[in-house]
């Protein structure tokens, strides 16, 4: 059976003032049905660009330069706008980062949840409302029967994120993209939302692409991890393997920076010195070369290729002997 999502050689450019900015370069990964894949990287590494590209909702200034995205065997970049829209919500849905702005402020939650079921023409308004209520109950909104008529501003941030998740699940998608769903929330709420997602996964059986910059979240929640750096994929591995045996220097540096893995008596947070490379520059070297403590001559001379280091574990680094 074909993988649920197959991204192959995907490159996305943004129009810059003088030259294009390469937001994503040659991304290649696949996702099986029912799996949870974590997409990790620091700000500006292209995580959100990748998730929006999968929905074909990139800003007009972005351009897919090359590559294919196959969803359930279908090349979605070749689909008509109409066919793509039929996929959204039904097969692929997305939960966004900031629950404060992802709900329409002037419509009640119920009105929005009923409207989003516009494809179920055979359901009456009453049935749609009942579905919405049961999903609100499912995501843990207390007294959903009454609260469904409230407006978004009458809910707290955590509640709104629950509502966003309920809305995304109304179409029973096969793939749920969660773009940093907990970043705008505080730590207790973060744990609650992740618990909820984990819970929901049991009954909804879909795959989740979890975008996060938080390694702890990924470690706990995901089956597999894709690490992005400066628009390039540097490593992909099953979650246990990645944490036990990170092969790319960037992944290692990232793990070292995770506060959760610091020794209890650490006096300062480690950081990765340097900054993200110029995303407009042509690809003549390893993207991480400038910040890599182990960089050798070759790293600055040519970009590394993805190398299989173990079953299901790939990394792009010259030091792995490619």
């Amino acid at each position: 059976m074909a993988a649920l999502l197959e991204v192959d050689g995907l490159s996305v450019d943004f129009a810059g003032s003088q030259r294009p900015i390469h937001a994503l370069r040659d991304i290649r990964f696949s996702m099986e049905r029912g799996r949870i894949v974590g997409l990790v990287g620091e700000s500006g590494s292209g995580k959100s660009t990748l998730s929006l590209a999968v929905l074909r909702l990139l800003a007009p200034s972005a351009r897919i330069v090359s590559g294919t995205i196959r969803f359930d065997g279908v090349d979605i970049l070749a689909l008509s706008d109409e066919a793509m829209r039929a996929l959204r919500g039904r097969r692929i849905a997305m939960v966004f980062q900031d629950p404060m702005s992802t709900l329409n402020p002037v419509l009640s939650v119920g009105a929005q949840m009923i409207d989003v079921q516009f494809r179920d023409a055979d359901l009456s308004r009453k049935q749609k409302r009942a579905r919405a209520v049961s999903l609100l109950a499912r995501v843990g909104i207390p007294d959903p029967e009454r609260r469904i008529d409230d407006f978004p501003h009458q809910f707290s941030g955590g509640m709104r994120q629950r509502i966003s998740i309920a809305m995304a699940l109304l179409g029973q998608p096969d793939l749920l993209i969660a773009d940093e769903p907990t970043t705008a929330l505080d730590v207790t709420l973060e744990a609650q939302i992740l618990d909820l997602l984990r819970d929901l996964r049991r009954d909804f059986a879909g795959a989740i692409l979890l975008v996060s910059h938080h390694l702890g979240v990924v470690a706990e929640f995901c089956d597999e991890v894709v690490v992005l750096y400066a628009g390039e994929m540097v490593e992909q591995a099953p979650v246990g393997e990645l944490f036990a045996n990170p092969r790319h220097p960037y992944t290692r540096a990232l793990l070292d920076c995770d506060p959760g893995r610091l020794p209890a008596d650490a006096r300062s947070f480690p950081t990765i010195p340097g900054r993200l490379p110029d995303l407009g520059a042509p690809r003549t070297q390893c993207v991480f070369a400038a910040r890599c403590p182990l960089a050798i001559e070759r790293c600055r001379a040519e970009p590394p290729a993805m190398i299989d280091v173990a079953p299901g574990h790939r990394a792009s680094c010259h030091l792995l002997g490619g």
Partner: protein, 293 residues
């Protein structure tokens, strides 16, 4: 209202109130609503309220002062000014409501298309809006009257052409701001198409400010109708309109000032009424502005 503002997370609000109850809780809203209702009812039941035929000429009774028989006196042809003012309300509201509804429909549709559609369409529509807006209303009215003659329809066409571009520009700007709102992206990610986005999500966000604007434009349109009728470009005599009443009174302002007052007072009251109502409506319709009372 580009970026929706949100107050911090609030505790569950126990009671919900309908827009009407919000409106009634505001004293200015009550005042505006009362005035507007009085004007509306006057217009609807004008035939029953008016004690005389507003066009019946009785020259022997001309230019009488206010009395029990003639509340606002009579004009130079002996017509009952009160009856003329009462029926004038009907003309004024007819013109205002029809013209503004048309202007909202035309301007709104074009504004949505300009704001959400491709850039070339936006360019063309904005050029059209600005071109029309650059004509002074009066010049436009003059040209139109020369072309199709003075009538009620002429007034309506003038008003629609004057107001539709303004509504269009407002709707366009609001739509453009909304286009990039995160919740629109979220809706698109769930498969909503352009029509659904505009009808279900953009319009309710825009309609509040547009509604208040439109209801505050009602007296402006009434004034335009009165003005054009005063100048002889609008309602033809002997049909009663506040403008023609004013015109009739204007000639005799020295001896019989009550005719001017009778024509002017309803203009003042309708302006106040619709303006207060518009402001109160805005607060009541937009849930973000609702105060818990």
């Amino acid at each position: 209202m580009s970026a929706p503002t949100f107050e911090e997370a609030t505790a569950p609000v126990p009671q919900r109130r309908s827009a009407l109850r919000h409106l009634l809780a505001d004293p200015l809203g009550r005042f505006g609503l009362t005035l507007v209702l009085v004007i509306l009812l006057t217009a609807i039941f004008a035939d029953a309220i008016a004690p005389y035929n507003p066009t019946a000429i009785a020259v022997p009774n001309r230019l009488q002062g206010p009395s029990l028989a003639h509340l606002f006196g009579t004009d130079q042809l002996g017509r009952d000014v009160f009856s003329r003012v009462v029926l004038g309300a009907r003309i004024a509201l007819e013109v205002a409501l029809v013209a503004i509804t048309l202007a909202l429909a035309v301007g709104g549709a074009l504004g949505l298309a300009a704001g959400y559609g491709p850039r070339w369409l936006d360019g063309i529509l904005v050029l059209v809006f600005d071109t029309i807006r650059s004509f002074p209303t009066i010049m436009f009215a003059l040209a139109l009257v020369t072309l199709i003659g003075p009538s009620l329809e002429t007034v309506i066409v003038v008003v629609v052409a004057t107001f539709a571009p303004s509504y269009g520009r407002i709707v366009r700007t609001q739509t453009q701001a909304l286009k990039h709102a995160e919740f629109i992206l979220a809706e698109r990610s769930l498969g909503a198409g352009a029509v659904r986005i505009l009808a279900v999500h953009a319009v309710p966000n825009i309609v509040g400010p547009l509604f208040i604007l439109a209801s505050m434009d009602v007296p402006v349109v009434i004034t335009i109708e009165a003005g054009l009728s005063f100048l002889g470009f609008g309602v033809r005599p002997p049909t009663p309109s506040w403008g023609t009443v004013l015109n009739d009174g204007y000639a005799f302002i020295g001896n019989t000032p009550w005719i001017i007052l009778a024509g002017g007072l309803p203009l003042v009251l309708s302006t106040l009424g619709f303006t207060f109502l518009g402001e109160a409506l805005r607060d009541a319709i937009d849930p973000r502005l609702r105060k818990e009372i």
